[in-house]
């Protein structure tokens, strides 16, 4: 059945898992037609628009301890995948040691979605595209695309791949912090660096195996760390990022020991820009250096015309937002930077 316009969920089975093992077993054995559901705030709108074919939803909400947050910045923290974005944004230890994470979680959509949405779900947000996050009827009218039911990409017609946009706010923060993601599948548990969770592909966007459940995200100790997340969007709430810049700086004796960064919404995965920040090491950055690095670090950003506002503008805004995040993390007034998104005259 190919529904047309109505926004009812498809007829499906709804299973409430009591343990991670149980959830993994169901999604691993349902011939690819079962999906995990946590807060449902990403999955359910997509399902109402028939962006996936799903026969079974496996709810993770009943798993004991599902929303626990433990540890502290001294030793490192472990956040269960089921911790809500609101919990993450307000947690005192997260706020003090992992400010960028609290900022990113606190900037997701609306308070309502932050009460419902989870960290695990946020890391797994289905990459977005304004040719794809549309109802079945709309997609049928425009002609289906690669990502679902079709065979071309409507954004880049000659492209063999999908350029849907990684739109999670917390994913680039996890990448910048070099956090580890703990996955539990039928075969056991493994731990990957956040960056390794993602693939640069709008359809096949994750290395998570079908039967794996993200159980927690582990953030390394952050004793001498400052961090910031800057999000570009049209309105102060509701909107997904159209550029997001996460920056983490590890300090030692007043100079930078290491600095890492990642971008959201400018590619099909969180784009790691850490290599552009390496010359911060060993110095106390001034605003000229920051501007210089930020101006170069937008290089891997590849916004296309498939989100809000023009991609040219988004590209030019990327360095401004990297600069703001860097300045913020370095203790400078974020908005008083030297870069602009103005066209070169």
């Amino acid at each position: 059945m190919d529904p047309i316009l109505v926004l009812r969920l498809p007829r499906l089975r709804y299973v409430q898992a009591r343990t991670v093992e149980e959830a993994a077993a169901i999604v691993g054995s349902d011939g690819g037609r079962a999906m995990l559901i946590a807060g449902g705030t990403d999955l359910l709108p997509n399902l109402k628009r028939r962006q996936f074919d799903v026969a079974t939803l496996v709810s993770l909400r009943g798993i004991p301890g599902w929303d626990a947050i433990t540890g502290d910045p001294q030793a490192g923290m472990s956040l269960s995948a089921g911790a809500t974005l609101d919990q993450v944004a307000r947690h005192p230890a997260v706020l003090s040691g992992y400010r960028a994470l609290a900022q990113a979680a606190g900037l997701v959509s609306t308070p309502q979605i932050r009460y419902m949405g989870t960290l695990g779900g946020n890391l797994m947000v289905d990459p977005r595209c304004n040719y794809y996050n549309q109802t079945f009827a709309w997609r049928k009218a425009v002609g289906f695309c690669l990502k679902k039911d079709g065979d071309i990409c409507l954004v880049a017609r000659s492209s063999p791949r999908c350029w849907a946009v990684s739109s999670s706010d917390t994913a680039p923060v996890a990448v910048a912090f070099a956090a580890s993601v703990v996955l539990q599948g039928m075969a056991g548990t493994r731990r990957v660096r956040a960056a390794e969770l993602y693939r640069d592909d709008g359809i096949d966007y994750t290395t998570r195996k079908r039967d794996e459940v993200i159980t927690s995200v582990e953030f390394p100790a952050a004793r001498t760390t400052t961090s910031a997340y800057w999000k570009l969007r049209r309105r102060g709430s509701f909107d997904f990022p159209i550029v997001g810049a996460a920056v983490v700086i590890w300090w030692e004796d007043g100079v930078v020991r290491d600095a890492r960064g990642a971008l959201s919404a400018v590619g099909s995965h969180p784009v790691d820009i850490s290599s552009y920040l390496s010359s911060l090491r060993g110095v106390h950055p001034d605003e000229r250096l920051i501007a210089e690095l930020a101006a170069a670090a937008d290089k891997p950003a590849r916004p296309l015309d498939n989100t809000d506002l023009s991609h040219y503008w988004r590209k030019r805004m990327t360095r401004v937002f990297i600069e703001r995040a860097l300045r913020d993390a370095a203790g400078l007034d974020p908005q008083a930077g030297l870069l602009t998104a103005q066209l070169k005259s």
């Binding site: 926004l7 969920l9 499906l12 709804y14 309502q112 979605i113 509701f238």
Partner: protein, 167 residues
Amino acid sequence: MPVTDKVPVHLLVNGEAYEVMVPPYKTLLEVLREDLGLTGTKHGCELGECSMCGVLVDGKPYLSCLAMPLDLQQAEISTVEGLANGNEPHPLQRAFAELGAAQCGYCTPAMLLTAKSLLDSNPRPSREAIRQALAGVLCRCTGYLKIFEAVELAAARSSTSPPAAHV
């Protein structure tokens, strides 16, 4: 549609226990409106993009259009129908009426519940805290100002402490 895909769901709404047989893929919004007759909860998009469908789940603002009833069987759900105490309107309801904060009234149920959740945790919120708390509910009529003022009036009437200067 096979009748057999219905399942029993127990819900506690406004302190009242309900048991209904519904297909498991019906959202809380659909069950509230269609199966429990609680049409005070509205909808504007059914996709999480407006919050007209806002209710409270354990005191927190939730989107009923994206909530699955089976997962909420242990929770306390509040809708606009449960705001008044018998015939006595909630101070927020009174303030919204007195200050003209409900024009067409369509966003009002969600606004009221969201504001209630705020006042329950922060009895004298600053204007900025109110804006932040209500940022998730669209209103197309009022420009929001009368809504902010109504929340402030309700807060002032129900509390003795002065409004917070900050969030």
